[in-house]
Amino acid sequence: MGIVRLWPALLAVLIPGIVILYLLKQKVKNQKISALNLWREAYENIQASTPWEKFRNNILMYLQIAALILLIIALMSPYITGGNSEYSNVLIIIDNSASMSGLYSEDASKLDIAKKQAADYISANDGVRYTVMSAGSTPALIVSGSEDKGRVIDAIDSIEATDASGSLDSGISMAQSATAAWDSYKVLAFTDSSANMQDMNCEVIDLSVHGENAAIQNLSHTVSEDGTVKVMARVDNYGKKQLNTDVNLYVGSKLYDIQNVTAEPGSSSVVYFKNIPRGRFNSALAGNTPYLMAELNSKDMLAGDNTVYNILNGENDNKILLVTEKNTFLEKALMLSGNKTVDKVTPKDLEAAKTDEYNLIVYDGIVPDEFPDTGNIIFINPGIAKESPGWQQEVFIFKDSTNHNQNNKQGKAVLVKAVKCDVTEYIEDYSFSCLDVTGFDTPAWASSFFNTGKGLSAGYIGNYNGRMVAVTGFDLHNTDFPLQTEFPIFMYNLLRKTMSVQIIEKTVYNAGEAVGIQKKKQAEEAAVTKPDGTKEIYSLGSGMAVFTDTLDAGLYYVEEGDDRMYFTVSFPEDESDVSKETLITSDKNTKTETSKTASKNISKKMIVMPVLALLLVLLMAEWHIYRKRL
């Protein structure tokens, strides 16, 4: 129950006026009676018990006071928010994507407003089963069919803003399947983005606010030939005014430089930080802060997109050791595949080489007796040992096939086909002939990327005890594959996969994206530290773990034993654009209401007409009594 305006309550001062008028109106008419003493006695008997006896008979006065009160109530435009809702089920969907953490008013975010209005709605409606969902990058069912208002409101309070990209659309299909089972329902959706509500009966509260917002994106760095480092970032202005602000660049936690940037409304500007001495990075790395951070020096509607990170690549991750007698194709391919150091040794010198220093060791045509302690490994055309050590039986599962013809140089050529996977990216349909191919059964820890015609694997890759191990079952000299354009692509993919990173594949993730954590060395578990400092521990028993809680933009790092690797979760670009018009659509013949200010539209029923009807009835009753008395 509530009222729209309060000032008519002042008219209540007229009520004592009516009473006074009635008191004044009561001209006492004298009536003669034979003797007073009986009346006096009767009057004294009742006077003590009813001091307000004077007014007992003034029904007209009471009716007039009641009529005045009803008139005042009608002028105050009363409404009811309580009572039983006309729907037995209400599904509340709250968009918690990154843009919802933007400011709606000076001290409240859009998500805060959505939560408050949802709570107000729940408080005002009884007898309803509430289902609550959050919809952002992925929909989540928070409460299912509960009539416990306190629990539902608590659950709504627990919905937190994320920095993930998304809109209501992600939750629509889930909402549809939920509402399909209900006879009477209403969907109450809170969002600031466009959405198609399809055929649901819903009320969408549009919380989009146009205002000033700038975002900094795409922080990157390059090392120039002269050894200096150049850092670049893009600043987008989504506001309606020209942006003129400073961008602060931090190396690690230390402020390095400040650049001024201007951007017209709706456009972008690129800001550069040039000629940063490389030593600066080294010292930064020495301080164990191998990342850059750029931030906008001005406040706006959305704070999440004002900071961006970039992870610096460590130099000691790029050393490759090639163990081969002679394989120019392979050596060139390794050299071409990036800014990496490739050292070559012959098998004879292998024992003298310090394999611990290398990130990747490529064994061409030979297999070491001992499995290397560190680094990832590529075995190319591994030889056969009659009594293989234990590790070889796990890594190489030879199949006794006709293709296995190591000594027969006149063997029949075998067609090797690419299997669609990361290693064969862009060459998925490629196949080539090879004279001498060893067929393997793919070990349980690996997946095949080359298959022979008989379904055996001619090449596979996988995580073996925390190490990336790739095996190809043919000699590059026995095929024209190295002469094809597909070869460098294959090698690049293979190196990327095996060199990639020991713990995680890349250093930049989008909010909401899952991070695969690879087992490295003999680490049993991995710890992920989030931007807020909390740490999550994952077991690496299966060789891999998946970290999915990347809903907050910022700097993360993963630790496995002594190794630490930073990665950054970036704020989604499309969530920064506050200038977009929100468009709520629905299928035809479907009732969808959209309102900007939900608080005024939620479950309010004006009750002015019933009050006026009651007033009319009162006035008619008064007229009737008045006529009767005349």
Partner: protein
Amino acid sequence: MAEEKIFDGAFFRGLNRIKLVTRITMQGGRSGMRKSAAKGSSVEFSDFREYVPGDDIRRIDWNTYGRMEKLFVKLFVEEREAYYSVIIDTSGSMNFGKPDKGVCAARLAGAVSYMALNNLDRVRLSAICSDKIINSSDFTGRQGFNKAVAWLENMEYAGRTDLYKSIRGIPFNQRGVTVIISDLFSRDTTDKNISSITDTIRYLRYMKQEVLILHVLSPEEKEPGLEGTIGLEDTETGDILKVTATSHLCRQYKQVLERFINHVEESAKHYQAHYIPVCSDETIDTFIYKGIRSGQLENI
């Protein structure tokens, strides 16, 4: 007093159908049509007694002498006239009601007078108010009735009542019947008033009077139809009591009135007086019927 005619044709027609009886026997006074305790020379036999010298020998019953051989004389009841004191309350409170209590009181007094005079009894009318007593002369015979009517028609209702004090001022020289016609209201509280009425009855009984109280109330007094805020003005004192007349107050009044009537009736019974409540809207016929039922009146 209301302008209506007090004694009309209907009144006189009712009178011819009744006679008044009293349980008392008359002593002293003049001869009338009532039996007296004194043995006298009437024709109605009363008793025998032995002859003593000096008795009228004409009264010796010779038949008894023949049977008993003793002289007896016959005794006869001497019929004497009854003395009626009709006391009418002429205070202001009697000048009230529709129909007017004063008119009703005058008619009752007229009826009682007619019946008494018709039986050759003697009637004295007394109007009492404000310590003032106006006694009529004694009326006798049919001629006396006309005088009584004329006297009653000239009564005026004004002033206050103090029944006991007023009645103490009336001389009661012989046995008789005293009829009080009043609304019995006074300025005093109900309890004090009842006490005063009781004293009056006791006094009259002491003065060897058969007491008949005709308690006259108007319909408005029995069923007050008051509404709204009004000032109740006492007709006797002029005092005003402001009240808001509600059904609750009216109910309370009726309870108080009923208690008052019950107390008066109880006092009357206790001192062997007769009490007849009369409403001013009742006709003389109704009053007579009530009188017959209570044993005071019987058909002629």
